[in-house]
Amino acid sequence: MTNQKYQLVCGMEVHAELKTNSKMFCGCKNDPFHAEKPNIYTCPVCLGLPGALPVANKQAIEWTIKLGLALGCKINLFSKFDRKHYFYPDLPKGYQISQYDLPFCYDGKIETELGTVRIHRIHLEEDTGKLLHKTVNGEQVSLIDFNRSSVPLIEIVTEPDITTAAHAAAYGKQLRKILQYLDIANCDMEQGGMRLEANVSLRPVGETELPNYKTEIKNINSFRFLEQAIDFEIDRQAELLANNQIVSQETRGWNSVKQVTYSQRSKEDAEDYRYFPDPDIPPIRFTEEQIAAIRETIPELPSAIATRWQQEYGIEPNMIEQIIVNTTVSRQYDKLFTNAKNEGISVASLLKNILSKKVPSPLEAGAEQTLLQFKELQKTDVVDDTQLIAIVNKVLTENPDISAKYFSGQKQVIGFVMGQILRELPKKSDPAQVREAIITQLEATK
């Protein structure tokens, strides 16, 4: 929905859990979603016990750089971790180890079909524990599970370049695709493996200055909800502004049942996190060579593959969408397509058959088998000439007006005849052969 008077000014913050083996600052198993019980993947460090100390996960840092490079970001060769202080029961140390003024990556961009979105920064931090609200022995309580505490979390912040709700969803989807493609995050949104936040404000159409407020919509875990929430906010804010009312600077949540955003916390006074560099973690310094080495590990990205396949094989984008899942899969398809092209087979047709399950995918059967089965499918049976002529004549006799129509110029009657005949013949008859037979017979009756 676009508003006529006001224009959306929207930026997004996305958090994604990295799929490292171990946690960000300790060696505990990183698998909170599949843990059978609460608090079984903890240690003194991620539980925040007195005296415990953090040591950073190298893989998580390298993957953060990898994402930054894939999104065209600049990399801070010198970086550090900072303590971000706030009190909440799911934050065991009373501070979260995050990054403040020297994030690993900054100034990049993502292309979507609805427009470019610039990336402001990408940084690395640790996740918190998880809260469950229940009633125990008649009392309302919150239960805390620290299996998720200190799992590596990458945070991607955009510039306020998003212009519509659909644009926001397109951005989110593209980002998720890249994260999955780089094989650094699963982005299971239902479990909270990827969390979306949108900063929404409006300004009169035509104005270029940034609005002096923003509303933060938090904890959205689906792209559908994201679009709905943003659209709702646009309407809500537009109405307030139209009536000369102020839109409060606050945090809002999305109620998917009532289909409304609701106020959660006033952000008039932004939280004072009292950031300072974490003394327990020495800073990180990369060399250009190390960055180049990480850059080498980035596979050909989905958008590049899609462009290439469109140009080379003429495949429709929506079909490509369905098969660009990860590097392994696309490599298999690449191999298949190359072989197909070499044998003169239409790649588009091949893919169509794979997607409609008429032919197995190369992942199941291997490129060779897939091609073989496709060729089988395309094979046509040669029909016995005598049999064919007999059937053609039969149909022509049953439909005497065909001959007249044909000679009067209505060549399309052949199609009708074809249909009749093909019904009488075995399934895989060669249409070209049949057509030739019909014309021959017709000409013969002239």
């Binding site: 300790c26 060696g27 608090n39 996960n57 009190f87 799911d90 805390i144 003394p279």
Partner: protein, 92 residues
């Protein structure tokens, strides 16, 4: 002072807060001497070791992981493997 007490998450009564105020300002007075020195060309020291890039490999450390009962052993309120706090109204 009230905001500070809240920020520091300390349960202090208003009377106690009053008695802490003078100590507070007295301490801040001492810090004034820092303006004597010229630090215009100086970088802050966050790490005296001078070390950098102290990182760990992405391996699971079984030795350090605690069992559920070890993790919960010092908590006063637990329930079926969870830590328990009174219901939180303010969602983060």
């Amino acid at each position: 002072m009230k905001d500070l007490i809240k920020l520091a998450n300390l349960p202090i009564s208003d009377e106690q807060a009053k008695s802490l105020e003078s100590a507070f300002s007295e301490t801040l007075e001492v810090f004034k001497n820092l303006t004597d020195l010229d630090i215009s060309q100086t970088e802050p020291t966050n790490q005296v070791t001078g070390q950098e890039n102290v990182l760990r490999e992405d391996k699971i450390d079984e030795d350090r992981m605690l069992t559920q009962s070890q993790a919960l052993q010092s908590a006063k309120h637990t329930h079926e493997g969870f830590f328990v706090v009174p219901r939180l109204i303010d969602e983060k």
